[in-house]
């Protein structure tokens, strides 16, 4: 009996253990070795006021000095202060525009007000340092900007020593703008807490909040307790570890994340949660969609894109090391919080009427998930090297969207017309090709169009062209090596370019110099072409015979732009013969000639259509017999349009 009781107790214990194990979130502290150097450990207790769209929080922040030298000044981001009338962000937005707002269109309204107010700041063992806080402006001389604060410590922190800050702060969220804020009951809380700057390249790197830039932070652990009204659904970076109901009609939900560079969360009473999972080489990854009720028809589209993206990243770049990915679908009016990345937590965007042929939701989900690699793990500086995360991510986006939805139909797929994702990136680049080098600081591009067109469009186009030079396999291998070498680190531009050189065994500095550091435009054209009989008698000239008369064929290829690139010329003759010739592209022009008993039919530079950086592809070819089909078709539709408009206007009579 005793024995049987012991057996029953053992079974009960094992059962309970198994149950408890099943209830454990897939990623808890101490379950695995640190993946990063975990410079900071954040513990934040938040109470959210859903009526005022504000919160009060206590943050305990343990910072370990891994700078290799004593430090007595520590900078912090206070990015919600960007949403104030005279902040640098607002001034830049008025001048050059930003996402969702064109230059000059920003007008101030009280609902745009955001604030991150420090109530008190104490360092354990050093006392209350609230009065030591001062706002600094490392990027400009705007005394009204309060997005970066610096704390002067009474004594330096020794290398590898850890100090603990206790900060009490109050946040006021703006109505959704620039990725963060509320819309009705919905809240997307991004860049919402005091966050330590990054020691990088032997200096503090803590930029102000800019109109055209994203962020930069150190790898950390987060334990965040969010107290919100009990009817709110929550989602956040990391995994949910606990939830308890409070007597005051609120609930407190705890989240834990480790080896991540930021923490964002969302709260919304209307949203619906859809869960699924996908198997990749590192195990099962939980997918959590937080959907607007009216957007439920987009769930299969989000899921297909997300699962396909996870699998392709797993196959090409490396396994996704986290156990969950949360996708937030913003509500109507809250779109400006969509299309943004945070670690293990991304925001998307759709609408109930969106046609299937418009692959915007798929693209956004793919892109933002891609940032888990190019931003969240390979944590480059988005202020100074924006092309490294947005651009590399856009390149991989093209590859994955092509693989999932077809090369010519991965952006738009309608009966009337279609467009591949690579063409979309190329179009972005075309408008700004010579404006700014990729190495510009994000906030120093001439305008928002140049920032977007270069960091996303030009980089993707430049890498697609590079793929043509070094080969697709080699390109993906180079990216894999880059990821493997720099995951959970903060690599620089040189790190990326050197890694590609090394992984491919090729010195591509000539290419980086022009495509990354320069603003040269790549444009080759067929300047002239034709065949003339070689005979001297006028009879032969007048009556040439096919296959008997000998012709001198010449093609002059012209480098119109300053970008020097080797190109291939393909010529086709009227006897069916086809030839390919290479030119190093160094001179301004080059003349090719052939003597054959055949006349030139056509000549084309880049016959594989792989040099996507070529600014004008219409001048890449020459035809002996003009092909009027395209012009005829477009002019025909133009005619129909004019007739239709004329008829409609005449309706007024």
């Amino acid at each position: 009996m005793r024995g049987r009781n012991r057996l029953a107790a053992l079974l009960l214990f094992l059962g309970c253990t198994g149950w408890a194990w099943a209830q454990l979130p897939p990623l808890l502290p101490s379950q695995k070795a640190p993946l990063s150097d975990r410079v900071v450990a954040y513990h934040i207790d938040v109470r959210y006021d859903a009526q005022k769209h504000s919160l009060d929080a206590q943050e305990t922040l343990a910072w370990t000095n891994r700078t290799g030298r004593p430090q007595d000044r520590i900078p912090f981001h206070l990015y919600l202060n960007a949403f104030q009338p005279n902040s640098t962000f607002m001034k830049e937005t008025r001048l050059v525009g930003t996402r969702g707002t064109s230059a000059g269109a920003m007008t101030w309204e009280d609902k745009k007000n955001g604030a991150d107010e420090i109530k008190s700041l104490e360092v354990v063992g050093m006392g209350d340092l609230t009065k030591q806080i001062k706002f600094i402006h490392p990027d400009d001389d705007n005394g009204d900007d309060r997005t970066v604060m610096e704390v002067q410590l009474p004594r330096p922190v020794a290398p590898n020593q850890t100090i603990t800050f206790k900060i009490t702060f109050h946040d006021q969220f703006p109505e959704v703008m620039h990725r963060t804020g509320y819309k009705r009951d919905f809240l997307l809380a991004g860049q919402w807490f005091p966050k330590v700057g990054v020691w990088w390249k032997n200096a503090w790197n803590c930029h102000q909040f800019h109109a055209n830039s994203e962020f930069f932070a150190d790898f950390s652990t987060y334990d965040v307790n969010l107290t919100v009204p009990a009817n709110f659904n929550l989602g956040a970076t990391g995994v949910q570890t606990a939830e308890k109901r409070n007597l005051d009609g609120t609930k407190t939900v705890s989240f834990h994340a480790e080896d991540v560079i930021d923490f964002a969360w969302t709260a919304d009473p209307r949203s619906k949660i859809v869960e699924d999972s996908v198997n990749i080489s590192s195990g099962n990854v939980k997918i959590r969609l937080i959907m607007e009720p009216e957007h439920m028809s987009s769930v299969p589209r989000y899921m297909k894109a997300l699962k396909g993206t996870l699998q392709k990243f797993d196959e090409w770049i490396g396994p996704y090391p986290y156990s969950v990915i949360t996708v937030v679908d913003p509500p109507p009016g809250g779109e400006n919080s969509g299309g943004m990345e945070y670690p293990t937590f991304i925001t998307a965007g759709t609408s109930w009427w969106l046609p299937r042929g418009l692959l915007e939701p798929e693209m956004v989900v793919e892109h933002e998930f891609g940032h888990q690699y190019w931003y969240a793990m390979v944590a480059t500086n988005e202020f100074e090297d924006a092309w490294l995360d947005e651009g590399i991510n856009s390149y991989v986006e093209v590859k994955i969207m092509d693989a999932l939805y077809g090369r010519d139909t991965s952006a738009l797929h309608f009966r009337l017309g279609d467009m591949g994702e690579r063409e979309q990136e190329r179009l972005q680049y075309q408008g700004v090709a010579d404006l700014d080098p990729l190495t510009s600081n994000a906030w120093e591009y001439v305008n928002g169009g140049s920032y977007g067109g270069n960091t996303y469009g030009k980089t993707a186009t430049m890498l697609l062209t590079l793929e043509h030079i070094i080969g697709e396999k080699e390109m993906l291998h180079a990216l894999h090596v880059y990821y493997d070498r720099y995951k959970f680190k903060h690599p620089t531009e040189e790190d990326f370019m050197n890694t590609v050189n090394e992984a491919t065994g090729k010195n591509l500095d000539w290419y980086w110099k022009q495509a990354v550091r320069g603003t040269q435009v790549l444009d080759y054209e067929v300047l002239s072409a034709g065949s003339a009989p070689t005979g001297v008698t006028s009879t032969k000239k007048l009556f040439p015979k096919k296959g008997e008369t000998e012709y001198l064929t010449t093609v002059v290829v012209h480098r119109k732009g300053e970008f020097v690139m080797p190109v291939t010329l393909e010529v086709k003759f009227d006897n069916g013969e086809s030839l390919r010739e290479n030119w190093d592209g160094q001179d301004r022009w080059h003349r090719f000639s052939w003597v054959k008993k055949a006349r030139l039919e056509s000549a084309e530079i880049d016959p594989d259509h792989a040099i996507l950086l070529d600014h004008d592809r219409y001048n890449n070819s020459w035809l002996r017999e003009p092909d009027t089909h395209a012009a005829g078709k477009l002019a025909g539709y133009w005619m129909l349009l004019v007739q239709w408009l004329a008829m409609k206007l005449a309706w007024l009579v």
């Binding site: 009705r184 209307r270 607007e292 009216e294 509500p331 109507p332 009016g333 609408s351 109930w352 009427w353 010519d408 738009l412 009966r415 009337l416 017309g417 279609d418 467009m419 591949g420 063409e423 979309q424 190329r426 179009l427 075309q430 408008g431 056509s602 084309e604 004008d616 592809r617 219409y618 001048n619 890449n620 070819s621 020459w622 035809l623 003009p626 092909d627 009027t628 089909h629 395209a630 012009a631 005829g632 078709k633 477009l634 002019a635 025909g636 133009w638 005619m639 129909l640 349009l641 004019v642 007739q643 239709w644 408009l645 004329a646 008829m647 206007l649 005449a650 309706w651 007024l652 009579v653």
Partner: protein, 302 residues
């Protein structure tokens, strides 16, 4: 009657076609200079690569501004042409007989300034009516900003469009009736006529509106069929697509003339009925009496 007087329809379609062709000459030359010698242009023939199309539009030599400007001039020319011949068109349908060119243009010239005045008054009325949906749209947009209900907003906009459609159709039939009365009754005071016609149009609104709605829906069905067929045509079969849309334009023009013809028939019948009633009634309706006495040639003896 539309079929009996089909020459009018063919003639108007031909003018529309020629003006469209002339408007497309410039764009064809400009596009041809960029496309005819390029292999890349084939992306626009066998399929329609929107990337290649937008790239084409971004070329400095393919400037849309001048092309649109010159084409709009042709659009306006067609409008002026229709304005000029409107008196003749209505006259043909009112009299329901073949006109010589001289007779037709005499009617055009004779009623031209009255048609211009009616059109101007009609534009003012359409402007006022058109502002109603704009105001509703502004209210919906404001409400949308604070509403999570996307579908509700869409449905509200649909209702707004339906209301706008109904209002525009009523205004159209109202002024078509005024045109018929101008020609049939040789009216001269257009401003006064407009107001008198509004009363008549409203009194007979169900019949007239249904008539116009039916014709409009017939046209809509044919356009929808054309669109559906077009979407299933391969990109390379542009010739067929072009013919299909020309047919759709022809049908749309026919629908518009059908409306005018049906209004002429209705008003003629209505006026005759009133005249007949006046003949047996000891106290004839003043308007009907005036109408009958002002009645010109063919149906005057009815």
């Amino acid at each position: 009657m539309l079929w009996r007087r089909q020459g009018l329809l063919w003639w108007i379609f031909l003018v529309n076609l020629v003006l469209g062709w002339a408007a497309a000459l410039g764009p064809r030359a400009v596009l041809g200079s960029a496309l005819n010698g390029s292999l890349h242009s084939r992306e626009l023939v066998n399929r329609f690569d929107l990337g290649a199309f937008f790239e084409l539009l971004s070329k400095p030599e393919v400037s849309l501004g001048p092309m649109i400007g010159s084409s709009l001039a042709f659009v306006c020319m067609f409008f002026l042409f229709m304005l000029f011949i409107n008196g003749g068109i209505v006259s043909v349908y009112v009299e329901d007989r073949r006109h010589t060119w001289a007779e037709f243009f005499e009617q055009c010239g004779g009623f031209f300034w009255r048609m211009v005045r009616l059109t101007l008054i009609g534009l003012v009325v359409l402007g006022i009516v058109g502002s109603v949906p704009s105001i509703i749209n502004a209210i919906i947009t404001k409400a949308y900003n604070d509403s999570p209900n996307e579908r509700g907003t869409f449905q509200a906009r649909l209702v707004m469009l339906a209301v706008a459609f109904v209002l525009f159709l009523i205004v159209r039939l109202w002024f078509d009736l005024a045109q018929v009365r101008t020609v049939r009754d040789r009216e001269r005071g257009m401003f006064l006529l407009t107001f008198r016609t509004l009363g008549k149009a409203l009194r007979h609104l169900p019949r007239l509106f249904w008539n116009y709605l039916f014709i409009t829906l017939c046209g809509g069905v044919i356009i929808a069929l054309a669109m559906r067929t077009w979407l299933h045509l391969p990109h390379a079969r542009f010739g067929l697509a072009w013919l299909l849309w020309e047919l759709a334009i022809f049908v749309s023009l026919a629908m518009r003339l059908w409306q005018k013809a049906s209004m002429a028939i209705w008003y003629d019948g209505h006026a005759q009925a009133l005249a007949a009633a006046a003949a047996v009634s000891p106290s004839p309706e003043p308007v009907a009496a005036g109408t009958t006495t002002a009645q010109p040639a063919p149906s005057a003896g009815a």
